[in-house]
C-alpha cells in the first residue's frame, strides 16, 4: 500500500510541485482507510472524497490554494456532517442524517480539504478508551490488544496508522490529548471559545472544544488557523480576541522561556514509572534548549476530577434529553409516551452514558443542586484562578498528558473510577478553558508517551512555540507503528 506523506506541510509541497495530485493522495488514503484493522472508521465516504479531491486539484492548478487544499482528513463522528450519517457513537442516533454541517467542517470544505469519513469514538465522547462506542472498541496500532485512548480514539488512530493526514476530535476532559498521547501523535485542545461548536453534538457545553490530531506541531497550527475564529452561531465564543498567525513563533525556540512544572502532576499515585521517566527526560531536553524550568504548585489539581464529574454529567444530562425518539434517531414504540421514552432511551444509550446522565440528574436535583453543582462551579473558579496566578510567573506548563501508556482492552471497563483517573492531567485544562497540546515524547514498554504543554488562555502561539522546539530537538514524532494490511 502507498504510504501517505508524513505531514500536511510535506503533502502540500508535493501537491504544489505536481509530484502528486489530491486525487492520488485521496485514493491512497481511502485504500489505507478501507484496509484499517483497528475499527477506526464508522463511515467512509469515498465518492464525496473523490469529488472534493478533483475540485482541489482544479484549485491547485489555479495556484493560490490554501495549505489544506487536497489534504485528506478524518472527522470524529460527533461532528455533524450534512447528508452524512452522524452517530456520536450511539445507537440512539441510528438513521440520523444531519441537514447541516458543523462550522468547522464547512471551514475545511471551503479550504478544499478532503474529508475521508467519520471516525469511531466513545459514545457521546464519554470515555477514555474508546470501549464505550456502540460500534465496538478501537484498537491501538502500536499494539492491537491495547486501547487507543478516548474519546476520540478513531481520529487518533486514523492519523497514527497513516490513514489520514489529520483528524478532528473533540476534547471535553482530555479526549484529544489523551488518545494522541496513547497513539503517539500530536493532539491539541484550543482555548475555550476559539473554535465554533455549532454543529458539534453537545456533550458538556462549557467544556467541549474541537481540535486537531496531526503528525507535527506545525500541522496542528495549520489546522487551527483554518478552524479558529468567530462564528455568529456560537455566542460563547470570544469576540475581542483577534485571529492571529499561529505559525509565527514556531521557529523561535524556548531559550529564556519560563516553563512551570506543577509538582502535583508528578506525585499522583498510579503514575507509571515509565511515563514519568519519559516526561522527565523531555523536561531535560527543554532545559537543554534553553528554557528555565521552575517547579510550581497547582494545589487544587486533586479537586479537578470531582469538579469535572459534577459539571460535565450535569450538562450532559440536559444536553442528551433531546434524544427522545420523537423527531429523529432510534424510536422503540411503547404503549404510551413515558414507555416510549423509557424503551427508546433504554435501548439507545449505553451504560456509561446512562451512568453520567444519572450522576448529572442527581447533581442538579432540588436539594442537591447547591451542594454539588453550585459548589463545583465555585471550585471551578478557584482552579481557574490558580492557573491565572501561575501564569503570572511562567510562560507555559509542561506535564505528562496521561499517567499511563495505552492499557489493555477490557482492563478498566468495570472500574469507572480507574478509567476517570486517566484524565486527571488533562481535565483541569478544560475546567479552566486553557489551550493544551500533547506531543510524543518517547516510549514506555514499547508504547507511546505524551508530553502536555499548557498555555494561558489565547496563548496558543506560546504553546506551539514550546511544542515545536521540543519536536525539533527529538525524533519521537517520526516513530510510526508498523501497520499490517488487512
Amino acid at each position: 500500500m502507498t504510504e501517505l506523506p508524513h505531514s500536511i506541510r510535506g503533502a502540500a509541497d508535493l501537491l504544489r510541485s505536481r509530484r502528486t495530485s489530491a486525487l492520488e493522495l485521496t485514493e491512497a488514503a481511502l485504500e489505507r482507510s478501507h484496509a484499517d484493522r483497528h475499527n477506526a472508521w464508522l463511515h467512509l465516504c469515498d465518492e464525496r472524497a473523490r469529488a472534493q479531491a478533483r475540485t482541489a486539484d482544479a484549485r491547485l492548478k489555479l495556484g493560490d490554494a490554501p495549505a489544506l487544499t487536497g489534504i485528506p482528513w478524518a472527522c470524529k463522528d460527533i461532528i455533524g456532517t450534512k447528508a452524512i450519517p452522524t452517530t456520536a457513537g450511539s445507537r440512539i442516533l441510528e438513521g440520523y442524517v444531519p441537514p447541516y454541517s458543523a462550522t468547522v467542517v464547512e471551514r475545511l470544505d471551503e479550504r478544499g480539504a478532503v474529508m475521508l469519513g467519520k471516525t469511531n469514538l466513545d459514545e457521546f465522547a464519554m470515555g477514555s478508551s474508546n470501549e464505550n462506542s456502540a460500534f465496538g472498541p478501537v484498537k491501538n496500532p502500536w499494539r492491537t490488544d491495547r486501547v487507543p485512548g478516548g474519546s476520540s480514539g478513531g481520529s487518533a488512530v486514523a492519523v497514527a496508522a497513516g490513514e489520514a493526514l489529520f483528524a478532528l476530535g473533540t476534547d471535553t476532559g482530555g479526549s484529544i490529548r489523551q488518545p494522541a498521547a496513547l497513539c503517539g501523535v500530536v493532539g491539541m485542545k484550543p482555548t475555550y471559545g476559539r473554535v465554533p461548536r455549532w454543529g458539534v453534538v453537545a456533550f458538556a457545553s462549557s467544556l467541549d472544544q474541537v481540535g486537531p490530531f496531526t503528525n507535527t506541531v506545525e500541522d496542528a497550527a495549520i489546522v487551527c488557523e483554518a478552524i479558529f475564529g468567530k462564528d455568529p452561531n456560537d455566542t460563547t465564543m470570544v469576540t475581542e480576541f483577534p485571529d492571529d498567525d499561529l505559525q509565527t513563533d514556531l521557529e523561535k525556540g524556548v531559550k529564556g522561556m519560563r516553563l512551570g512544572v506543577p509538582k502535583e502532576y508528578f506525585s499522583l499515585k498510579g503514575m507509571e514509572p515509565g511515563v514519568e521517566r519519559a516526561v522527565r527526560a523531555a523536561l531535560k531536553v527543554l532545559e537543554r534548549e534553553g528554557a528555565k524550568l521552575e517547579e510550581v504548585s497547582l494545589s487544587l489539581t486533586d479537586h479537578g476530577l470531582a469538579v469535572y464529574y459534577i459539571i460535565q454529567p450535569a450538562e450532559a444530562s440536559s444536553n442528551l434529553a433531546r434524544y427522545d425518539g420523537i423527531r429523529y434517531g432510534l424510536r422503540v414504540e411503547g404503549p404510551n409516551l413515558l414507555e416510549t421514552y423509557r424503551r427508546t432511551r433504554g435501548k439507545g444509550f449505553g451504560p456509561e452514558v446512562k451512568r453520567r446522565m444519572i450522576l448529572g440528574t442527581y447533581a442538579l436535583s432540588a436539594g442537591y443542586y447547591d451542594a454539588y453543582y453550585v459548589k463545583a462551579q465555585k471550585v471551578r473558579t478557584l482552579i481557574k484562578a490558580e492557573y491565572d496566578r501561575v501564569f503570572e510567573k511562567v510562560d507555559a506548563l509542561v506535564t505528562p498528558t496521561s499517567p499511563t501508556v495505552a492499557f489493555a482492552i477490557g482492563a478498566k471497563v468495570n472500574d469507572p473510577l480507574a478509567m476517570y483517573l486517566n484524565d486527571v492531567f488533562t481535565l483541569p485544562v478544560n475546567i479552566s478553558g486553557l489551550p493544551g497540546i500533547s506531543v510524543p515524547c518517547g516510549f514506555s514498554d514499547g508504547l507511546p508517551v505524551g508530553l502536555q504543554i499548557i498555555a494561558n488562555s489565547y496563548q496558543e502561539r506560546t504553546m506551539f512555540r514550546v511544542a515545536a522546539a521540543y519536536e525539533r530537538a527529538t525524533p519521537h514524532h517520526l516513530a510510526r507503528p508498523e501497520v499490517k494490511a488487512a
Binding site: P98, Y100, A202, S205, D234, T235, S318, I326, R327, S365
Partner: protein
C-alpha cells in the same frame, strides 16, 4: 335578586405569558409569526433541537422585555442570565426550555387598575415557547402530531403579586396589562391567535372558629381568553370553598394543585397534585453568556416609551373634553387613538366631533372592509379637514358621510369631493322652503299634531326635507323654515 358576597376572601395572582412582537424567534432566525402557517414550515436546526444546534439570543426580544418592564415601573438589573428548565415532552424539542430562573430581566414593578388600585409586578422573564400538539384518530388508531412552528417563539412571562381579590379584578388586571403591552409595542397579544396565556393562582381565605383559614391554592393553567379567566376563577374559588365545607382532602393537603379549565364543561379538572410536582433542575444555560444590559440603552428604551393608556385616557377627557366612554373606546386601540390625535391635529377645536367620526364612521368602515386604523384608506388628516368643513358650515353632517364614503372608496381631497359631487351646503332658502312645502303637504297629520300642542311632531319632517335637498341643507335652517311656515 341580590348577589351576596361569597363567604370567603379571594386571593389571586396571575402569570401572564405573552408572545413578543418580533419578526424572528427567540434563538434563531425563523419567522416568529407562526399563526396559520402550514405545520413545520417555520423551523430550523435550532428550534427543532437538532444535535449540535446552538441558540443565538434575539436582541429585539430582550429589548422588548426590558421595555415591558419599564412600562410596568420595573427595575432592570444590571446582570441577568438564561437558565435551562429541564423536562421532557414531545412539544419541547431539546428536552429543556431556555428560560430565566433566579435573575430575570426585569423585577419589582406595578400597574394601576382603573379606580386606582395598584397590582404589584414581581418579575418578568424571557423564555421560548414550545411547539403545539394535535391529537387525532385515523384508521382506528389514535395519534398525536407535533408542529414546531411555535417552538422558540419569544415569550415574556409576567408574574403579578397576589393582589387581586375577585374574578372581575383579575380580568381588569389582564386587560390593563394588555393595554400597556400593546401600547409599548411589546406584544400584539392577540388572544384569539394564542399570543397570550394566563396561569392563575387562586386561593381563598376565611374565618372559621375564630381562626383565619387559608387552604392550599389551586393553579389554573393555560387560560387563553378573558371569559375563560373569569369563569375559571369563579368556578375554582367556589370549588375550593365547597371542598372545604364538605370536608374534602383540601383539609389535609399541604401543597397546591394544578388544574386545567374546560370551557365546554364550564369546570376545572385536576392535572397534578404536589406529590407529583416536577423538579425542573434549573441551571445556567451554558450555551449562552450572561447579559449585562447597558444603562445607556435602558435609558434610551425608557425615553422611547409612549404615553400609557391610563394617562392618555385622562388627557383625552381633561384636555380634549371627550367623555370617559369615548376616551376608553379610542385608547383601547392604540392605532385608533393615534389616528384620532393626528386628525385632531388638523382640526384642534373639534376634538369631540373628530372622536365621533373615528368611533363611528371610521371604525365601521374598518370593521366592514378589514384592516387597521394605521394605513386606513382615509388618512387622519383628510378626516380632520372634513370635520373642519362641517364646523365651518361648508358641508352638512349628512353630506359629509357621503364625502367620507367617497374618500374611502376612491380616495381624494375632501374639499374637491364636496365640489365634484355638488354637496356644498346650500344657502338657497327658496329651494329649502320649496322642499319644506312639499313635505308639509305630504304629512298633514304631523302638522295637525303640532297644532294640538305636540311640539316635537315636526322633528320627523327634517329628515325628509334633508333628503329632498340631497343632504346639502343645514338642519338648523330647515327647522327654522318649517317653524316659519307653520307658525
Amino acid at each position: 335578586m341580590t348577589v351576596s358576597a361569597p363567604p370567603y376572601e379571594l386571593v389571586i395572582g396571575i402569570e401572564t405569558h405573552v408572545e413578543l412582537n418580533t419578526e424572528s424567534k427567540m434563538f434563531c432566525g425563523c419567522r416568529a409569526r407562526w399563526f396559520g402557517a402550514p405545520p413545520n414550515t417555520l423551523v430550523c436546526p435550532v428550534c427543532l433541537g437538532l444535535p449540535g444546534a446552538l441558540p443565538v439570543p434575539n436582541r429585539r426580544a430582550i429589548e422588548l422585555a426590558i421595555t415591558a418592564g419599564l412600562a410596568l415601573h420595573c427595575q432592570t438589573p444590571d446582570h441577568t442570565k438564561f437558565d435551562r428548565k429541564n423536562y421532557m415532552y414531545p412539544d419541547l424539542p431539546k428536552g429543556y426550555q431556555i428560560s430565566q430562573y433566579d435573575l430575570p430581566l426585569t423585577v419589582n414593578g406595578w400597574l394601576k387598575l382603573e379606580g386606582g388600585k395598584r397590582v404589584g409586578i414581581r418579575r418578568a422573564h424571557l423564555e421560548e415557547d414550545t411547539g403545539t400538539l394535535k391529537h387525532g384518530e385515523g384508521a382506528g388508531q389514535r395519534y398525536t402530531l407535533v408542529d414546531f412552528n411555535r417552538s422558540g417563539v419569544p415569550l415574556l412571562e409576567i408574574v403579578s403579586d397576589p393582589d387581586m381579590s375577585s374574578a372581575g379584578e383579575a380580568e381588569r388586571y389582564v386587560r390593563t396589562l394588555r393595554d400597556i403591552l400593546v401600547y409599548s409595542g411589546v406584544s400584539e397579544m392577540r388572544l384569539e391567535q394564542g399570543a397570550g396565556r394566563f396561569d392563575v393562582n387562586v386561593s381563598i381565605r376565611f374565618e372559621e372558629g375564630g381562626k383565619t383559614i387559608w387552604p392550599p391554592q389551586s393553579e389554573i393553567k393555560n387560560l387563553n381568553s378573558y371569559e375563560a379567566l373569569r369563569g375559571a376563577v369563579a368556578y375554582e374559588s367556589d370549588r375550593l370553598w365547597r371542598e372545604w365545607q364538605s370536608g374534602g382532602e383540601i383539609r389535609t393537603r399541604t401543597g397546591k394543585v394544578t388544574v386545567g379549565w374546560s370551557p365546554e364543561r364550564g369546570r376545572t379538572y385536576m392535572q397534578r397534585s404536589k406529590e407529583e410536582v416536577e423538579d425542573y433542575r434549573y441551571f445556567p444555560e451554558p450555551d449562552l453568556v450572561a447579559l449585562r444590559p447597558k444603562a445607556t440603552r435602558v435609558a434610551e428604551l425608557r425615553a422611547a416609551l409612549p404615553e400609557m393608556p391610563t394617562e392618555r385616557r385622562a388627557r383625552f377627557v381633561e384636555k380634549l373634553g371627550l367623555s370617559e366612554k369615548d376616551a376608553r373606546n379610542l385608547v383601547a386601540d392604540r392605532q385608533l387613538a393615534d389616528y384620532f390625535e393626528a386628525a385632531v391635529g388638523v382640526e384642534p377645536t373639534s376634538a369631540k366631533a373628530v372622536a365621533n367620526w373615528v368611533i363611528g364612521e371610521l371604525t365601521a368602515a374598518l370593521k366592514r372592509d378589514g384592516g387597521d386604523a394605521k394605513g386606513a384608506r382615509v388618512a387622519p388628516e383628510q378626516l380632520g379637514v372634513l370635520v373642519r368643513l362641517i364646523a365651518a358650515g361648508r358641508v352638512s353632517p349628512t353630506a359629509a358621510k357621503q364625502v367620507f364614503g367617497e374618500m374611502w372608496k376612491r380616495g381624494g381631497d375632501p374639499e374637491a369631493i364636496v365640489n365634484t359631487l355638488g354637496l356644498a351646503q346650500t344657502s338657497d332658502e327658496d329651494a329649502i322652503a320649496a322642499a319644506v312645502d312639499e313635505v308639509l303637504k305630504a304629512n298633514p297629520s304631523a302638522l295637525a299634531d303640532y297644532r294640538k300642542g305636540k311640539e316635537r311632531a315636526l322633528d320627523g319632517l327634517i329628515g325628509p326635507v334633508m333628503s329632498r335637498m340631497k343632504g346639502r341643507a343645514d338642519g338648523a335652517v330647515i327647522r327654522r323654515i318649517i317653524l316659519e311656515r307653520v307658525g
